[in-house]
């Protein structure tokens, strides 16, 4: 909303290619916008909807018609030009909204939770379509979403905001693998959080004591807490292995299965441990090493580079 110009920022500036656009009202920013629920004008046909941004910019009729046709071609809706939005499916409506937002060659396309009101299956379909269109158009899209999967699968860059503050910015893999804070680790995918006290902190990494269990953990210098301070480690469920008898790992902990569920592609196990609390583990169901059962004793293991130390920002 701040990027779009509907809300003034409490501090800072909005820059577009280096120039300050903070004081400009929405209509002067020339951004293409796709709104939640698409906000297509119900009293206009598809073609009139797409022509709207051109019309308010005072383009001639001939120019308008040519651009509208090109935009509808781009989203493969040329046959639907004379329909009303209410006669279109959800996917087609999204394409109209995109054509309308792109028709005037905006510098930037803003998408404000366009998919959030849809059911899961349609959402997945439209995500793919959106991604394909993005490739074809080759412009910057800024997509606001609360859907972590959407953020990971669509983006080149993800900015994670919490209560209006930027927490972390980076490529999806970087954010998933190297979350800086608990909020980021928790938002993108699922994570276990292990708490402990730093015993040693040196070049090789950390030694973290949690109850009777000692964990070894690699950590780059910037993220290395000093000895004696509390530490929080984020450990992804898929990076934990079930250890067979005699097998070892850098970190090992014993527990028993408190609950489990079958997810099709895999199992989710909730393993209760003495020192680390409940740890969630996923393992592929195809040729699973064990048949999960409640109360079954298991040994979990993970390497020193599996987890990441994170800042505890969850309040």
């Amino acid at each position: 909303m701040t990027i779009a110009g509907f809300v003034a920022p409490s501090a800072g500036m909005v820059l577009l290619d280096g120039s300050d656009i903070t004081p400009l009202p929405p209509e002067r920013r020339d951004f293409g916008m796709v709104f939640q629920g698409y906000a297509l004008f119900p009293h206009m046909t598809v073609a009139e909807n797409v022509a709207f941004p051109l019309r308010v910019r005072g383009l001639s009729r001939a120019d308008r018609d040519a651009k509208v046709r090109a935009a509808l071609d781009l989203v493969q809706l040329d046959r639907f030009a004379d329909r009303r939005p209410s006669q279109l499916s959800g996917g087609q409506q999204q394409r109209v909204a995109l054509a309308r937002a792109l028709v005037f060659d905006p510098a930037l396309l803003l998408l404000d939770e366009p998919l959030s009101a849809l059911d899961k299956k349609l959402r997945a379909e439209l995500q793919e379509e959106l991604k394909a269109l993005h490739r074809r158009v080759g412009r910057t899209f800024v997509n606001v979403t609360h859907d972590q999967d959407e953020a990971l699968s669509l983006s080149d860059q993800v900015a994670i905001l919490n209560h209006g503050r930027l927490i972390q910015l980076g490529a999806p893999e970087a954010l998933y693998e190297q979350p800086r804070t608990r909020f980021v680790a928790d938002f993108l995918g699922k994570s276990n959080f292990l708490q402990g006290l730093v015993q040693e902190s040196h070049l090789g990494g950390l030694r973290v004591q949690s109850g009777a269990t000692t964990l070894v953990q690699q950590a780059p210098r910037a993220l290395r807490p000093v000895a004696g301070s509390p530490a929080l480690l984020s450990l992804r469920p898929e990076k934990i292995a079930l250890l067979a008898a005699g097998e070892t790992a850098e970190n090992m902990v014993e527990g028993h299965i408190a609950a489990w569920s079958y997810l099709g592609a895999g199992f989710l196990l909730v393993v209760r441990t003495a020192d680390l609390g409940e740890i969630r583990v996923t393992l592929p169901s195809w040729r699973a090493p064990i048949a999960p059962a409640e109360g079954l004793a298991v040994r979990l293991g993970w390497s020193a580079d599996a987890a990441v130390p994170v800042l505890d920002d969850a309040a």
Partner: protein, 278 residues
């Protein structure tokens, strides 16, 4: 028909009979007088084409009805717009303010306007004291006075259908229009106005039809000099005792209104006009 459906229709029967016996039948009876008095035939209707007096009354009625409708729509639209944008709490107060006049007798309101607008009335005295005018203005006992009184009566009837259609407009559409490059003005003209147009049309028809049949307000604020249809009919029937002529004009008005409604109901959904969801 199913048994339960018959049961529902039976419940309507008393009201239906009451309406038929005491309302529809007398009206039909009165209307038939227009072709039976003074003699059988359409003699009374010929006057529509030949009698200047009848034509002048119809002209006056249409003109005042039209002016009233236009002004009431402008005021009603502005009010409905403000109400739509207000907070829910403020909306309740606004609505109360709009609806309050409906509960005050037309007679009381007409006389209140007379006291305000007459030569020694508050308005003329105020303007004179302020030095804006020297001689009192003729604000009442003419068409001007009638229009003021009628607009006052009609504004709530204009607000309600317009408000109903404005409330159905998704506010995100306006944000979308702005985001796509439209100024506030353009967004209003191209998006909000067309989307609220059905309510505007509905309010227009409603107010216009009501205006045609106004009796008390024109009778009091017109001071007997400006005659509208309803007062003219009363004059024919009660004062001159020309039942045929009076009922002729009544018939013409009933038919004209029914035809208008008939055409209109094909264009706009009448039920949505009063806020019922289709």
């Amino acid at each position: 028909m199913q048994r339960s459906a018959i049961g529902w229709w039976l419940l309507l029967l008393p009201a239906f009979l009451l309406m038929t016996v005491f309302y529809i039948a007398p009206i039909l009876q009165v209307l038939t007088i227009s072709v039976t008095e003074p003699e059988l035939g359409f003699g009374n209707y010929e006057r529509l084409l030949t009698n200047m007096g009848v034509q002048r009354v119809i002209g006056t009625t249409l003109r005042i009805g039209l002016v009233t409708t236009v002004i009431a729509l402008l005021l009603g639209y502005a009010l409905a717009y403000v109400i739509t944008l207000a907070t829910p709490r403020a909306q309740r107060w606004w609505l109360l303010g709009v609806l309050l006049p409906l509960w005050i007798s037309v007679l009381v309101r007409a006389f209140a306007w007379v006291t305000l607008l007459r030569r020694q009335g508050l308005v003329n005295q105020g303007l004179q004291a302020a030095g804006i005018i020297e001689a009192p203005l003729a604000l009442v006992w003419n068409e001007f006075g009638i229009v003021i009184g009628m607009v006052h009566y009609m504004v709530p009837y204009a607000v309600l259908p317009i408000l109903a259609s404005m409330r159905e407009i998704d506010p995100r559409l306006l944000a979308a229009a702005r985001g796509l490059g439209a100024s506030r003005r353009t967004a209003f003209l191209r998006v909000f106005l067309p989307l609220s147009a059905p309510g505007l049309v509905a309010a227009g028809v409603l107010v216009f039809i009501f205006s045609l049949g106004f009796y008390i307000t024109p009778a009091i604020l017109g001071g007997g000099k400006t005659l509208m249809a309803a007062e003219w009919i009363k004059l024919q029937i009660l004062d001159i005792i020309r039942w045929g002529l009076g009922t002729m004009l009544a018939t013409v008005m009933v038919v004209a209104i029914l035809v208008t409604l008939g055409i209109f109901s094909r264009i706009v959904d009448l039920r949505r006009m009063f806020g019922a969801r289709a």
